[in-house]
Symmetry: D3
């Protein structure tokens, strides 16, 4: 992905949606890292922190939902290929008024796993929103984006500093 | 939801996750509106606009994915109740370097549909990301939030101006 | 449905797909009957018949797949409402070179169950095709249609003789 | 599949259903093409045609539903193997009183993709039925069948002219 | 269920599977409690106990999987009705060489929720097995059963002492 | 698995859940056999036996549900990898007051299929419970366990006699 395209790859010359044929691509080891953030209040972060006691499941619920979301990606994103996911980690970091989310997804397959990593972040963020919405209905899920990807024909891509 | 809680409702006194019992709530008509935005480039917005010709499926794919996402919400968000969704609209508006997403979800059931509306926005945004990522791998899905909800015991809630 | 519409109900004035709002409709008892047929060879029908011995699972597999298909309908058909299905029967009748399929679906909800009955027939037919394709790869799934529906505001509808 | 079997492969000697063991087969490139047709009225075809304006989502909805149906095939058809689908196209052609559906599915895996192509056609056809049923409740989904398959140990198969 | 039947309700007079018609039953408040146990080693229970520190997700993962399993019940059990689940709790208790599992499921619908409670126990138990299998591949999931149910036409049922 | 671990592999050093990275493992042929038993009454076993007539679907329903359960394993068990299942058999044996369940699952992939075999047994057992619960609400699903596994780096494992 060092060279980007100038056409939408998921629609054909007439604009019709399709699942792009990747039969000719070779399975290779690939990784994608995506991030996002739930912006909320200091009160909510305090509740999540206190929940960090034995049996405190709030962060675990979001983490597990995000990991399971990876496996649902081809069911949710219409033109995504089903992928043999080989590993997922999902980190949640409590900050003053925010929860930062980072998902890392690995595969050995014919396409990249950016969508899987982005879906993990989105589902973990939605799950946090669900758990805190009785306290802070105005929470915002923000800045869901790919930070870096490795592997595949086009090699590594790192998010440019000005985006 | 005019009065918010000061506890996480989805974990019990020991912090264990649970699906909150809503047996005693009455089914009432409820609506939620959520919004979000995909920040990309003028080039991508131009491609999406040109796609707005006969058979141009890019925006339709995102719209349909978002509507279908509503129905997958209880499968994705661990502690969400299954809901009898009675109507969904999903609007996509092309702006200079952005696509604005608005989802409106209606139900007649025992719980609100904020999570369904937020999930619709997130899945539509992820689907747009999937379709434009070959052109703009640095696109960002931003500002996913509830704008307004109506119905239920607590009545209407509108996003405060300072959030 | 005694009076039919002259517009596509699932797209709005601008052609955008939506899940039609049925909040104002009352839950009522409704039934739909759909039929279809798998056209194959006398040899295959013979194999299916012989399979009708103790533990012969071929017809049972199709019957169960059809019943389960009813429950997957809103996941498959993008603009279908999720429905509280209250009963399903699925009949398979062996004829000379065909298997006739009839599905009857019942609900007490706000929308009809034609799509659920049609999906049951289609999934049962596809499952039969899967099981017989090693013997007859040219089998055809034909004539999937609604035969009759009852209940709801518009009352009963029976398939006209000339269709 | 130039040579067909004389036994139902999906049931064992006692008639019990099983998922056939394909461990010893090699992953090879495979393609299947399936077709079907929705028989309706000239009025409906006219509405679908007019819908072919910017933002007209009716055909797109069916196309996307069909493509997503490919990925749900092993969930719907009990004895189908899960498959690494590598490409899908789904064509819809408006004719005088019909919509013709053609699905092409590609994989590099141990089994063929006829069931995936047939499922794409069936789900696209059911979705069309859903969208037109308010105007034409008597529409029929017809002639769902495999037209051709390539790849795998048995090589190419083309539908015989007399079926 | 104080009076039990003497026929299998899920097959008709000819033995064919069906989803029993419950259209005539009234939605009422219902509860079911199911239990089960994972028999393992003292070493594993020690590891799970130590995991009971901040961020220790092992028990949370099983608890959440069980709660999510409730919502998947009609997808897994072919003849189960889809149900409006209104509440779920899932308790895990560490004993000397065992983990005891108790699931409580509530609904206001036309059928009972025994299958949902049993599925919650089974999925939580399978998830525990998955997490401990590298240490104890010989763990056993045992004694999955309904302990008590309330509500519905037949009233309460409590497990007899001799079963 | 001749050598077992002394740590829970599915949580990291801080106890956070993760899907373990298997990118470096090679796809190899693997098999797992799991068993379980539904303990019920002689009356129920008699009904199931009588059901073993033409079109008697009760055992077939459980068998098919178990086979389909294999394909749902990664959706149910949060940290399980998605797997290319290449074959499944599921045997049900009627005994005096019990139904014995044996599932055999095969794959050629990077991880073992114990969880898939255990899930097949659990889902078949739950399905039997569903079908007999009107006659015997006190039935118990017992002794779900791995009996043997073959393939993969650690070679074969057979259940020790004292467990």
């Amino acid at each position: 992905m060092s060279a980007t395209n100038s056409e939408l790859s998921h629609t054909d010359a007439h604009g019709a949606a399709r699942m792009v044929d990747v039969s000719d691509k070779q399975p290779t080891s690939r990784t994608a890292v995506a991030t996002g953030v739930v912006r909320t209040t200091a009160e909510v972060v305090g509740l999540l922190r206190r929940d960090g006691l034995p049996k405190g499941d709030a962060l675990a619920t979001a983490r597990i939902a995000g990991i399971m979301g990876v496996k649902r990606t081809p069911d949710l994103i219409p033109l995504c290929h089903p992928i043999a996911v080989s590993g997922v980690t999902l980190d949640l970091t409590l900050q003053e008024t925010e929860v930062a989310i980072t998902a890392t997804v690995r595969t050995t397959d014919r396409t990249g796993v950016e969508m899987e990593a982005l879906t993990a972040v989105a589902v973990a963020g939605l799950t946090l929103h669900d758990m805190i919405k009785a306290v802070d209905p105005a929470a915002v899920l923000d800045a869901i984006r790919v930070d870096r990807k490795d592997g595949g024909k086009t090699g590594s891509w790192t998010r440019p500093g000005d985006r």
